[in-house]
Subunit: 253 residues, 2 copies
């Protein structure tokens, strides 16, 4: 059995009681920290599990899963600890698919995810459209899909959750300010007034952690705001109900 266990939003305390139960009964435990920031150290996870936890790299998971996370899953009880709610990240859904193709039974233990936790900013979770991810700028690589996702959602009055790039091996987690720069650069290129300096947005940092930060304001103002450590996300609101505006106002200015 391969059990995909969600670590939830921030640190080792965001795992569910069900997840902990499965973890403790596992023969072998793996974890990956390259898709998102993990707010605790490995030792605390190993204490919870009561056994060693093997940390896998992107290459381990995506290029040689048969030699790593899937190796013992046919005959043993294997757990794989992943950030947030499993199956939200494409890479975890892929592993589940590969396991099933090999005849390995797959179990999933859900946990908290930014996909629903984003409602903490005061916008209704039901009124979000497509979620998009901003990659770090690279020479000759500036995908326009995030801009198009926001524009499409706006056309239906829907809010957009904008996830920010993670390069964990380099210790780089895109900040709210860097995200705003990337969106301004796309606006300069595509000029459809989807994301201007006056666009009202929301920056959120370390959702689920005791020191989480939520700030609402104009893009140009939030760019100067220090949100502290990772992970960060951005929200670009669509049409707001007055109850949403009221809820959001507590995070303004």
């Amino acid at each position: 059995v391969l059990n995909l266990i969600g670590l939830g939003l921030f640190d080792e305390k965001d795992i569910s009681l069900r997840g902990l139960e499965v973890l403790k009964s596992s023969d072998k435990v793996y974890a990956e920290f390259y898709t998102n920031y993990f707010g605790a150290d490995l030792k605390r996870l190993e204490e919870l599990a009561g056994k060693p936890v093997t940390v896998l790299s992107r290459a381990d998971v995506e290029e040689r899963p048969e030699a790593t996370v899937l190796k013992h899953a046919k005959s043993k009880n294997v757990s794989f600890l992943v950030s947030g709610d499993p199956l939200v990240a494409t890479t975890h859904a892929d592993i589940a698919g590969r396991a099933k193709a090999l005849g390995v039974e797959v179990g999933v233990v859900h946990s908290s995810s930014v996909i629903s936790a984003v409602a903490e900013c005061g916008l209704q979770a039901y009124k979000f459209g497509k979620t998009t991810t901003l990659p770090f700028p690279q020479p000759n690589y500036e995908p326009t899909s995030p801009y198009e996702a926001i524009r499409g959602n706006q056309s239906l009055g829907l809010h957009t959750l904008v996830l920010l790039d993670v390069k964990a091996t380099e210790g780089r987690y895109m900040s709210v300010g860097e995200g705003i720069d990337v969106l301004h650069s796309l606006e300069a290129k595509l000029s459809q007034k989807v994301f201007t300096e006056d666009t009202q947005i929301i920056g959120m940092a370390r959702l689920g952690a005791p020191d989480r930060v939520i700030k609402a304001g104009k893009a140009e103002d939030l760019k100067k705001t220090d949100f502290g450590g990772p992970p960060h996300v951005l929200v670009v609101p669509g049409k707001m109900h007055f109850m949403e505006e009221e809820a959001l106002s507590q995070y303004s200015g």
Copy 2:
């Protein structure tokens, strides 16, 4: 302090370790089970909390919160246990707003939610648009908003998570089959081929529970399928990537 603690998807094991910690340190604990089905009994929650849990009705929460859940929150450590991830349901976001307006500090402990767990069907969580809820049919009340939400999402190629009505006090939880009937009735009225008998959809029951059921197929076929006990949800796919089609196929036929 008012702590909104998410009970997560199904039963008492879906609370997070952080949620349990806050629960144990609370002076007074409330819970509500009218917004969704809870898969365990109250006693198990009370054993976890190590103290009595007071169950609140819709009227307690929505009409007289100052006399119930908010009564002691200014001076004491009060916890309010709610289904799924807090703040996703409008009623919980309202209580948070009311508490803050009274000068009560509000804490949130996130947990698993159908909003992200829906990815278990094989469709990408990022590609869902607006979430809609189907109400039980009533004389002279048949809102067209669910139909319009699906149509809007389809126009952008996005999937739709369709939540199904809950009338907990009457023990009524809308089933996949009943939801299909409501959508067919809307189609008959609005005739825009958004939801026909041939529409490929997904029915999901008891996500997060060990006996969860996921079935994909034509609306007319799923209507005859027995999904067992509540809660149920429906998914109407938008444009599917071949990886999504492949992942979904394991739940077909």
